[in-house]
Subunit: 287 residues, 2 copies
Amino acid sequence: MIAISQKHWTGDVAELLRVGDGFVLNDVDPKGTPGYERSKTHAAEDLASGAKQLDEYQERLFAQSRVDATNASVLLVLQAMDSAGKGGIVRHVVGSVDPQGVAITAFKKPTEEELAHDFLWRVDRRVPQPGIIGVFDRSHYEDVLIGRVRELAPADEIERRYGAINEFEKRVTDAGTRIVKVMLYISPDEQKERLMERLERPDKHWKYNPGDVDERELWPKYMAAYQTVFERTSTDHAPWFVVPANRKWYARIAVQHLILEALEEIDPQWPAATYDVEAEKQRLAAT
Amino acid sequence: MIAISQKHWTGDVAELLRVGDGFVLNDVDPKGTPGYERSKTHAAEDLASGAKQLDEYQERLFAQSRVDATNASVLLVLQAMDSAGKGGIVRHVVGSVDPQGVAITAFKKPTEEELAHDFLWRVDRRVPQPGIIGVFDRSHYEDVLIGRVRELAPADEIERRYGAINEFEKRVTDAGTRIVKVMLYISPDEQKERLMERLERPDKHWKYNPGDVDERELWPKYMAAYQTVFERTSTDHAPWFVVPANRKWYARIAVQHLILEALEEIDPQWPAATYDVEAEKQRLAAT
């Protein structure tokens, strides 16, 4: 259990962050660092040492899939309010492994073609293949978050979706994909600072969208929609983790740890050769 | 000209590696380090400093595309004999930038569906979108390399393909994509060592395929097919670069440099805000 043996944790991170019975989003402290008592400086070191573990796990997982020895994959689902740090997770956590083993999908506003299908159609097509670490930067949960807050679908359709999501995720999990669902949780004040920084720096202007403020004004409605998501879709096969994200360095090591745990459960091994190693050595030597 | 100002080069790398008139593959020294007179240790530092430049260029390019300010993209085409280091380029050069701005396609043996179409069909679909650095790990050139050596298509069809490739690449270039075509050039002895290492290390067994030795035995035929590729498809709009690759550290800084030059020519800038910055500051402050 490599990940759990990470010495910098003082508690079972996954357990501390998992959404269980009676979970109340409003009780979570976005400035918190559950299970971690070291400083920001140490967090950078710990992230680097975790990256090495992740690297080996990822390569083993990928190697197994190349010889058809596994159907296992990992899917990280990232949800959050704007500026909570999804991009930083992709960059600094997922970005530390070989890009050949990663598939990132940033779901945008659905196209006309996508809208003509069930909301899970475009999502299903992006489930990672065996051996791959997939990332959903936003996901099918938008359809019960902005979908609910902005009333983009009738109430009974929104209602139907929670069950549909659970069934979909069960099928995907049964087929070999470990789903790690993460909500990065920041405070409204923290978001204000981050959005203001985007407005103050010309090299960040492109990251700002006037719509961000419109969404921000609906903060309490979004938090209520998230609370419902957690109550309805944090399942045994695909639990939610709420990661305090006011401190970016904490969010990164915490999400890294959750991915490591998923890989640890898969426990990928270097696959055995599918050919006669000694015979091949001789063939090669003779060339 | 940031890339060209990279102080560690003693010559114009792109010029030294570009396939021009009268190019003869057999005259290239796979152990060479054209334009670079520093050691392996220095190369690691130089790669790291180049990664920072690449990082900023890539983010600017991506930023421009987000506000529809560019149709520019970069496409790195990687071709080589087995074990020449394509994977290492993807990992250590391309892998240093934000994975959200990268799209890697590893072309395998064509599927039945792909074979039912023209050979460029599957390739065209993977041309990078604006703002993206795309990588082809193998490419349409397989169709005139293994295609020629193994006679997978009639001779006149192979012959037709060189022209079709040039037209295709012209169209793609005109649409805004800078194509950087790289052949990583190793010696047969170096390949033998690398393949043997894969056979000797259980954690590398998955990277070895008995077919690698079959292809190896056709080395001279492959080199002749590459020579023809260079003569027929090294164009002004999409020139070939032959990168000596016996020393992995050289190949990496050289390819990094070629990508930097492509980005330098695009010269991406932080895009201007598409909204009223001061008005947005006030709106945000009021929330």
